[in-house]
Symmetry: C2
Subunit: 352 residues, 2 copies
């Protein structure tokens, strides 16, 4: 059995008895029942996933997976391709958006080269797990071979396992890759069955004409490569990307290890959808970080039954949404752990 | 001139030149322009309000104003009235939702008795600024006298000034008062002109029948007391509440002192609307913390041109939404302060 199939098989349903225990505690805290809304949901889900009635605040890490895209040469992005390695080095130096927000959230950042078209020469402070030097142009053929696609997913699986053993117990996804909203929209259209134009947005900020070209390019790539929507690895290999595969692997790996995983924005949601196509049970371990400006994200979230935690008009990626969501998930757990009960505080419950 | 009129006159429009300076900096940080969405908006607005091109992270405090309501005896709430003082003591001991979330946000909590129907006997750890022992029942007459309404607003004005002098520069509102969604819906209907049934919700959790009774009670109170929708103090006196007046005062006081103020949920938004009716210029200094479950909040926010920061299905009050919003406002300022520029990081801009 392949490592991916083995990982998918390890994913178990969350133990509902812990949800009941969490709900019972939430209902005796000094507030009207349910009045903290989704903060209570976050606490309940985390208690269930950890299988622990009183979990500590989690040790957090966000993985920013980087990869390049052959299709970026086709004018689908507002930024040139060399920005991918430049931003990777910015992450390593701590100057990017993800670094700032992860510091605030108390999360570490792991920068992972899965498929950047640049030789980092063993630069320190990052994971060198390169599977390929940028994907092939999906207008000419598949993004990568089936073997490469498997290897990309395995990168995420291996990291989930490695960081669990280091004591991390809340993982987050992030991405960097000029051009990567294009494969993400392709994955979205293929798996949800929605027309390309309904799931394709402006990425880093292209104009109307470039958007039209992007839609045409995705339509062409899908009709040329014919990915099978029921086969996540096939979709990944034919129209995906290296960092998207690693994100899918991190989701599968986290769930297999019994850890919650925060799925950042549009690109991460496409990766999560690949994981979900491989094993739908992964969704119980996922938290959607934020509502992206990219229009394709909603349909993918709906397919997985996820509701974003914040909606702040963001479209940066990197894991920036994951960092914000982790703060609010902590809020839920803090409420659960620290609030006084009606009995402790001598407060009358509604029965008075 | 009254203290309130004097405070309202001190409110100046925010200096737009600082918005331009903030925007110029946001646009050279290593991200596509505008890609951090509302985090950028928070930074820009704060730079404008402070009139400081590089503000420090603010020193934060949330004011939880408490008051009782005569109308609570009319079955409009799921909880008995004695819960107001019980919860005040819970705040002072640090066991309530607001204490937990304020600790996470790095905000202090000031607990203020403005109108609780209970003698706290100079209990430590809270502000004793009682104007009245619970409002009158608005089904029988006005909630309070015009003089009492002024005094409640002055409580908030005085605290904004006092805490500015103590070095606090981000203020947040919160409330505690069994029955206080009833006066809040009354204020909302009166000032927005919307029918009572469209702006009245379940508060802490009443059933269908009690909701019907609540709507009838508010309609009766409005037709009996006839508040003038153009006169914020008249509305406050006739159908408002002590804590709602103090919230209005805190908003006016913050704006007069040149400080941003975070407006929590439904009750706080009703207080903010009283302030806005007195002086519309206050809105430039306000941030709406969260979208409350209470259905009346939206129309009030629209009238003031505010958009909530988070939407997590919350309906607790106390300032819990303010605490979460403060974390995300900090996120915006951190992005603004800490991110590398394109030039610093050697990253190609889109013209690259």
């Amino acid at each position: 059995m392949s490592r991916i199939a083995e990982t998918a098989r390890k994913i178990k349903p969350v133990d509902r008895r812990f949800h009941e225990k969490a709900q019972a505690r939430l209902d005796i805290l000094t507030k009207p029942q349910g009045s903290l809304g989704r903060l209570e949901e976050f606490a309940l889900r985390l208690v269930g996933i950890y299988g622990n009635e009183m979990p500590e605040l989690p040790k957090k890490i966000i993985f920013t997976f980087a990869g390049d895209h052959g299709v970026a040469d086709a004018g689908v992005s507002a930024f040139p391709k060399e920005v991918t390695p430049q931003m990777v080095l910015n992450f390593v130096r701590g100057g990017a958006g993800i670094n700032v927000l992860a510091r605030q959230a108390g999360a570490d950042v792991a920068v992972v080269d899965v498929g950047v078209d640049y030789d980092f020469e063993n630069a320190e402070g990052m994971h060198h797990m390169k599977v390929l030097q940028g994907t092939g142009n999906i207008l000419d053929g598949p993004a990568m071979t089936p073997e490469e696609a498997e290897k990309c997913v395995e990168v995420g699986i291996a990291l989930a396992k490695e960081y669990k053993s280091k004591g991390y117990n809340l993982l987050g996804t992030g991405d960097m890759g000029i051009g990567n909203t294009t494969p993400s929209s392709a994955i979205c259209s293929c798996i949800t069955g929605l027309p390309v134009k309904d799931v394709t947005g402006r990425g880093t900020g292209i104009d109307d004409e470039a958007l039209k070209g992007k839609v045409n390019a995705i339509e062409k790539a899908l009709s040329l490569n014919k990915p099978d929507p029921r086969d996540g690895l096939d979709v990944l290999a034919k129209v995906g990307g290296a960092e998207i595969g690693a994100i899918a692997g991190l989701c599968l790996g986290a769930a297999a290890e019994g850890l919650p995983v925060v799925v950042d924005g549009f690109i991460s949601t496409a990766g999560a959808l690949i994981a979900h196509t491989i094993e739908p049970g992964v969704a119980e371990y996922m938290f959607s970080a934020h509502r992206s400006v990219e229009i394709g994200q909603g349909a993918m979230l709906e397919k997985m039954g996820l509701e974003p935690i914040v909606d702040l008009g963001m479209r940066l990626g990197e894991g920036t949404g994951s960092a914000l969501a982790m703060m609010l998930m902590d809020s839920g757990l803090r409420i659960y752990r620290e609030m006084a009960t009606f009995a402790d505080a001598g407060v009358s419950d509604r029965e008075g």
